[in-house]
Symmetry: C2
Subunit: 333 residues, 2 copies
Amino acid sequence: MKSVTLKDVAKAAGVSYATVSRALSGSPQIGSDTRERIIKLCDEMGYTTNYVARSMVMKKTDLIGLVVPSIDNQFMSELAYYAEMSARAHGYNIMLCNSGPDLKQEKTVVKILLGRQVDGILIVPQSPKTYENIKAYTDQVPTVFVSENLRDQPQSYVAADNSRGTYIGTKYLYDLGHRDILYFGRRHSTTHQLRAEGYMKACQELGLKQRFYNSEYSRSSIAHGYEMAKELFSHPIDYTAVFASTDSNALGLLKAADEMHISIPDQLSLIGFDNISATSLPRLELTTIEQPKRNMAIQAVDMLRDKIENGTQGYVHQILLPTLIKRSTCRAL
Amino acid sequence: MKSVTLKDVAKAAGVSYATVSRALSGSPQIGSDTRERIIKLCDEMGYTTNYVARSMVMKKTDLIGLVVPSIDNQFMSELAYYAEMSARAHGYNIMLCNSGPDLKQEKTVVKILLGRQVDGILIVPQSPKTYENIKAYTDQVPTVFVSENLRDQPQSYVAADNSRGTYIGTKYLYDLGHRDILYFGRRHSTTHQLRAEGYMKACQELGLKQRFYNSEYSRSSIAHGYEMAKELFSHPIDYTAVFASTDSNALGLLKAADEMHISIPDQLSLIGFDNISATSLPRLELTTIEQPKRNMAIQAVDMLRDKIENGTQGYVHQILLPTLIKRSTCRAL
DNA sequence: TCAGGAGTCGCAAACGTTTCCACTTTTTTG
DNA sequence: CAAAAAAGTGGAAACGTTTGCGACTCCTGA
């Protein structure tokens, strides 16, 4: 269990441990013969440099804190995957924290991460209030937000262009011949407000009537989409397509439609948003708008690295374009 | 960016920094009046203890390395969720690594984790060869494996009782009246061998004929399940139920069945394994065997903590019972 | 022969903690 | 009331590394 230190290999090599350190770090001020000898010896003795000691003197941990509401969520786990890959490729490691159900938890984990001396924090906010919640810490360490739109805040973030996503989607529906399109789902939270706006903008441009259906406290879940849709379908259906603010809600609506024998897409076209993995499943095949998760993750760690390594001040808002994924829940009229 | 240290608050409080350290750590050998004064001061000055310095002297990082083939995977992200929660509740943080596509990557990240001085490692193996692959490191740090069955290896692990899972499932099918049950999918890798064994045992006890269908290099994916199933259905269907070794494969089979107008469950009952989240989706509703992921995660970190904190030697094999989730792809004959 | 420079290498400080030991002050006890 | 015990505090070492600076060796050229 006792690991071998610099001092150990120094002793074995008959040099000072400064020399060993330099040999490993590729310092130019060292003989190439001794360097090789030492490197070989390190290998034999199974020496690996102790990162916590190193961090101590370098005042840099090469650690990035990743805080997500809960990693057990398609969007976030996918994001985490690419973030970790990209970070590691650049010599960083990821410290993972679930910011749990409430803001208190979120603040706690950020505090922990600070104590751990992470070089930067990547956070996907759990609510629009997150910014205020951790404001006190974001100036102590480079931070970039992912996926929640902080528009007016002086904070770096990368996000999908939600507004453009719904715009593209309704345009697609229009081109398919639909003239009565219902927007279904959440409208509060910045993200969902933007999605609604994209729909509204498209309607305006195309001369369509804007029609919304949502309950005040709607959440993005299949169960809730189902409940909402059952309520919705109890009224006459005087629209030919619905744009769900979220894939989960769309899936819930799908379930309700099945039960009520409303055929999708024959009677009703349906389009969602997020491209969660479930949408590509057999029997589902939901047409949707994809958030470019891979790019978001990569851009986010790039931004963070820039802040860390170059000390870049200020902030940048990186907006990525979503794309339409055509599957089989929409049909031409 | 410059954070406040022990020395800073010591100066402000007019005491030595040993005293401040003691006040914070709740040492008994300190006056309760000075303790309160110091704690209040720390709060005001926004002091948080530097964990890397602390780790240095304590020779303990309170860090657990979590290595998974890829976090963007239902099973693993869910596992990671519970593991992180449980770990943090006990004062540990999680360092996340994807062990990537190959064994080389897996070895690399384990090495990194060792350099980071993690107190322990939680690893879900990417292949049966994982054990051999990282053998050299597992005796340098407490390690527990998750979900791959290392039966004969002197290594701690927690896993679902795969064999029992398939046993329960086929028994269920039998009780429903099925007498011709086909086992569909992978059979190599320890896990899947065990699953196959459970099916075989049930068949033996119940006097059923064992029937297998699989391709040599089958993987657990919907696409592959689909391909296999198309091939399968090109032969006459002289069985009334199929047990898929994996939910993903089951879903692929479902898709093929739909295309060939084979009705499930009317013509064919279907049962999967894993209870991935997709199985509970509308239109799918796959009957399956659930791995108790939450329990697995919690047990795993408990085992690891025991090794870390109590220096427990030896190894334990923790086998958890899977449960049958009845949904709508099975019907009584 | 020797000054001086290039090329190597060692010494020691520093990073921010925790904790052992010693020391001072206060309290208890005989 | 003196001595011993207890309580509270400070000094300093230690953890394993990086790196500035000084020192040493060796060689070149005058």
